[in-house]
């Protein structure tokens, strides 16, 4: 029960780290720290460099399932139910998240419960129970995600996975991080044990600790984690270049739906550790910063034409948890891609919306940014990016991502790099890295045959508005409606085949 002695004055939570973040390589565990001595909270992140790209053939989903058998299952000392009971009064979770390259086991605890929490967290990581019932439950969770959440209840997540499958076909990134239905079905407890023993090693671990912890705490935690086998780094797996796309290749995912969602894009040869990423970041923000109203795509497709709810562009993978507007840390990927996302439109405007989005990318390619647009966008990003890591846990995750990419703290790097840019740098990067001649496009639709027919016919797709649009819209539409989409190929995939094997 709450007593006066309990320090509820949590106002001491320091927003910006009181001390500089740092990375060490003491012993064999790579460690990242973000001390904030006055904070009553401590965040602990264990980043293992193993993700769905390391799933063995036929066992797609093994990395995610292994992560859950560590972070969402029992330990040798406690059943899963007992573990939950122990964690519950602290209101701290053991969170687990597997992406293409990494798996993060993490949590935040109050300093009052930190010792007990840490015991449970390390117990989970060092001594997984590998219980059959835990396997069955976690497998069901992943299966339900693939077969119901993605296939049947969330067209937008479906499209997001679809465009990645198209761009990274024949690449270790192809499958959802949750794996495939047949892959999951084939996974046994022995598979999980073997995968754990191979990949949950000191060599694969990056430890992150942030907040009001002591040096003794950190030393003790590292000592405990040194019980992991030394192992060998599994990030040495070769990451091939995605197969280059030739022409505009369409995938139509057919399912029951009232609207049409559209993505198109192509692989990029750079990520945020490359200096060229930053001029491209300015151009992308100008074109379609996620969930803002000032990107060109948003202004033109939604603002001036009322086509849908939102239109954005990206130069790296965007994780899409509900309701967030800024990029989520914790999903570093060495191989990135450019993409445009047109949120669901009514079927009668899908052809036009696709053309309009292509038109906007082409416009960017042809005219670039003006000096004024460049300065406005650059200054926006420098300020806006400071909001991307408001919580202790997010700041620690951004720092660990940065270490993963072997680069300075990302948000500082944005300011440094952007302050050194000119509009010419930005426009050169656009021409160097973006294009619309060769891309993959994915459309989620209930009538793929009709979509295929209008894409192949490539006839003009004039808009019918419910009110008089601006004169410049009428003028631009004459061009947009007749843009040759010229698809190189069109493949129809019934949604039931998605994520199957």
């Amino acid at each position: 029960m709450l007593r006066k002695s309990i320090p509820f004055a949590l106002a001491m939570l320091v927003f910006a780290a009181a001390c500089a973040p740092s990375a060490h390589d003491e012993g064999s565990i790579e460690t990242v720290t973000l001390p904030s001595p006055d904070s009553p909270l401590v965040a602990v992140h264990l980043l293992f460099k193993v993700g769905s790209m390391h799933d063995p053939a036929g066992k797609q989903g093994l990395a995610a399932l292994t992560g859950m058998m560590v972070g969402d299952a029992g330990t040798s000392e406690h059943t899963y139910s007992e573990l939950i009971d122990l964690l519950y009064p602290m209101a701290s979770d053991i969170e687990v998240d597997t992406d293409r390259e990494i798996t993060v086991i993490s949590g935040v605890a109050h300093s009052e419960t930190l010792a007990d929490y840490t015991d449970l967290l390390t117990e989970a990581v060092l001594e997984p129970r590998f219980d059959e019932r835990d396997l069955s439950r976690n497998k069901e969770q992943l299966m339900a995600y693939l077969t119901t959440t993605l296939r049947a209840t969330n067209d937008e997540l479906l499209g997001l996975e679809g465009i990645q499958q198209a761009i990274f076909n024949d690449h270790p990134y192809k499958n959802s991080s949750a794996g495939t239905v047949e892959g999951l079905e084939s996974i046994t407890v022995d598979d999980v044990k073997s995968f754990y023993q191979q990949h949950y090693t000191q060599a694969n671990l990056m430890l992150g600790v942030g907040g009001g912890y002591s040096e003794d705490y950190l030393a003790s935690l590292k000592k405990t984690l040194s019980a992991l086998p030394a192992g060998e780094a599994s990030d040495s797996v070769t990451l091939p270049e995605p197969t280059p796309v030739e022409g505009r290749q369409f995938t139509l995912i057919e399912k029951e739906t009232d609207s049409v969602g559209i993505h198109f894009g192509h692989a990029l040869p750079i990520n945020r550790s490359n200096p060229d990423y930053y001029p491209l970041m300015v151009a992308n923000s100008y074109l379609g910063e996620h969930r803002t109203f000032h990107g060109r795509l948003m202004q033109q497709l939604r603002g001036k034409r009322g086509l849908n709810y939102g239109d954005y562009s990206y130069i790296e993978y965007w994780h899409l948890p509900p309701l967030t507007t800024t990029p989520s840390p914790g999903y570093p990927r060495n191989q990135q891609y450019f993409s445009v996302w047109v949120r669901p439109v009514v079927p009668t405007t899908a052809h036009f919306a696709l053309r309009d989005a292509i038109y906007e990318v082409d416009r960017l390619l042809e005219r670039g940014l003006t000096q004024e647009e460049f300065e406005l966008t650059r200054d926006f990003l420098i300020n806006y990016s400071k909001l991307w890591a408001q919580t202790l846990s997010d700041r620690l995750a951004v720092l660990m991502d940065s270490m993963y990419y072997r680069m300075p703290y990302y948000i500082d790097e944005i300011e440094t790099r952007l302050n050194g840019l000119s509009v010419e740098d930005v426009n050169a990067a656009v021409k160097k890295y973006l294009q619309t001649d060769d891309f993959h496009a994915v459309m989620v639709t209930n009538n793929a045959a009709a979509a295929k027919a209008y894409l192949e016919a490539d006839q003009p797709s004039p808009m019918q508005y419910n009110s008089d649009p601006d004169p410049e819209v009428i003028e631009d539409d004459k061009t947009i409606q007749a843009i040759a989409v010229n698809p190189a190929s069109i493949e129809i995939i019934p949604v039931a085949e998605m994520f199957q094997r």
Binding site: M1, L2, K4, F8, L10, A11, L13, F15, L41, G71, D72, Y80, L83, I84, D85, Y88, P89, M90, A91, E95, V96, T98, H110, R133, R137, A144, Y145, T147, T149, A152, T153, E156, L157, S177, E185, E256, T257, D258, S259, T292, F293, Q299, R302, R305, G306, N308, Y309, G330, P344, F380, N383, Y384, K386, L387, Q390, L392, S467, P469, A496, Q500
Partner: protein, 460 residues
């Protein structure tokens, strides 16, 4: 324990709750709340917080879909939220967006049953600009009929993006069955037919702005690197001439529910079945322990540690998702359960298990030690959640629109402190009555075998 990959399921929000002693010096909320009300009735709340260089700024209008009393206008409060970004004489929509971009703010708005809120988080040095641009649109919003009609299409697009989830049709059905008189009978998104008719209501929209977007129906909240006196001075400068004139709508009271309501929705594609059950509950109140007791019951039944959750999720593994929707409301509302079940044949078994555990709460006093564990969880959950200016904005914001008073946070948590096993039993008996329950199920109308196939490899 939580898998972030699966978090797409958990879109329904979480009730943030905790406990606190009653004495002022031990109030749960650890930050000082500064308040002032302007002559025109606008309330300003400032909470200094250690976020160097950053403030979270919010305007809440205490009008939401609850206020859509005229037939055929469901969803209008939400639609109007969109119109608020369409500019004024001083700052056109494009200029408003340019200002936001110039300051690097994170900005958006959302609407729910009881309110519409507009928020931006950005540099503290831009606070005066925020006051200027925000006050301007609340005083002088101006848009053409063409722009109005176009924006209605964006709302239709929003409906279209949401309707691919079974949640929205189930939510629509549950509410229209549970409420016959009160406007909580429709969702905030509104009915599709009403959304399609929106382009014809330009004149209605002007009246909507004039009736509801008034200072005495609104509140400003500033959290972060801000001096309260400076905020009050700026607010007086920019909002002082906002003319009052709020016309409170007459929202019909909902009579007691007489009998159990149930309905089923067929889904056109293979899917795991869903169960939604709503129980009528009183309006939010910190005057008694009842709201707090219900918050604790939510934990006793549906937290990860709860026996029911353990049975359904961990032991029997009949469900892969079990959530509650329990947001504080101005008027009597619903405590709602939402679950995704492994196969069609298990739906009645899951319903029976839920009923059984509710019955146990009604029949037996909850163990005092277990109750203390729940209160500990709530206390730490509250503490861990106050981790950014935006988080504080969200915690305090709820009370600003439910009762208008940010100090509710301390009063309600004082009530949590007082909840006894007897309170739990009494509130469980009063709330979970068959005649106060509405149940909606959704499934693919094939055989159980086919529906199960959806989970294990349909379309192979």
């Amino acid at each position: 324990m939580c898998n972030k990959l699966l978090v797409a399921l958990a879109v329904l929000g979480v009730t943030v709750i905790a406990v606190a002693p009653a004495s002022a010096e031990d109030e749960i909320f650890p930050y000082t709340i500064h308040e002032k009300t302007l002559d025109n009735g606008l309330r300003i709340v400032v909470i200094p917080y250690d976020s160097p260089g950053t403030v979270a700024f919010m305007t809440a209008v205490r009008t939401g879909s609850r206020d859509e009393v005229e037939p055929g206008h469901s969803g209008f409060a939400h639609f109007f939220e969109h119109m608020m970004f369409r500019g004024t004489d001083k700052y056109s929509g494009d200029e408003y967006n340019d200002l936001l971009k110039r300051m690097g703010a994170d900005s958006n708005a959302d609407t729910s049953d009881d309110r519409t809120r507009y928020y931006l988080t950005g540099p503290a040095v831009e606070l005066e600009t925020m006051m200027d641009m925000e006050s301007d649109r609340f005083k002088h919003l101006d848009y053409s009929e063409e722009v109005f009609k176009r924006e209605a299409l964006a709302v239709l697009g929003e409906y279209n993006k949401n309707i691919s989830s079974p949640f929205l049709p189930m939510w629509e059905r549950l509410r229209e069955l549970a409420f016959q008189q009160h406007t909580y009978s429709h969702t905030t998104m509104g009915y599709l037919d009403d959304i399609k008719a929106m382009p014809d209501y330009y004149d209605y929209s002007l009246g909507f702005f004039a009736r509801f977007y008034r200072p005495e129906n609104s509140v400003l909240l500033v959290v972060g690197d801000a001096d309260p006196e400076e905020v009050f001075t700026l607010a007086a400068k920019y909002y002082g001439d906002w003319e009052p004139g709020y016309q409170e709508p007459t929202v019909a009271a909902e009579p007691p529910q007489e009998e159990h309501q149930e309905s089923h929705i067929d889904w056109p594609a293979p899917i795991r079945p869903y169960l939604m059950a709503g129980y009528r509950i009183p309006a939010f109140s910190s005057e008694t322990v009842d709201t707090a007791a219900l918050g604790i019951i939510e934990q006793l039944l549906f937290s990860e540690s709860a026996p029911l959750y353990q049975q359904l999720m961990v032991e029997d593994q009949w469900v892969d998702s079990l959530q509650t929707i329990n947001f504080d409301h101005r008027d009597p509302y619903l405590f709602t359960i939402f679950s995704r079940i492994k196969s069609n044949d298990l739906v009645p078994k899951v319903q029976a298990a839920i009923d059984e555990h509710i019955q146990k709460l009604q029949d037996e006093l909850v163990d005092a030690e277990y109750l203390e564990r729940v209160k500990s969880h709530m206390r730490y959950s509250f503490a861990l959640g106050l981790n950014s200016p935006d988080a504080l904005r969200d915690v305090i914001g709820t009370y600003l629109w439910v009762t208008g008073d940010p100090s509710e946070v301390n009063r309600i948590y004082a009530q949590y402190q007082k909840v006894t096993p007897e309170d739990i039993q009494r509130v469980a008996r009063e709330t979970f009555q068959p005649n106060q329950t509405t149940t909606v199920t959704l499934s693919y109308p094939a055989s159980d075998e086919a529906a199960t196939g959806a989970t294990t490899g349909a379309g192979r």
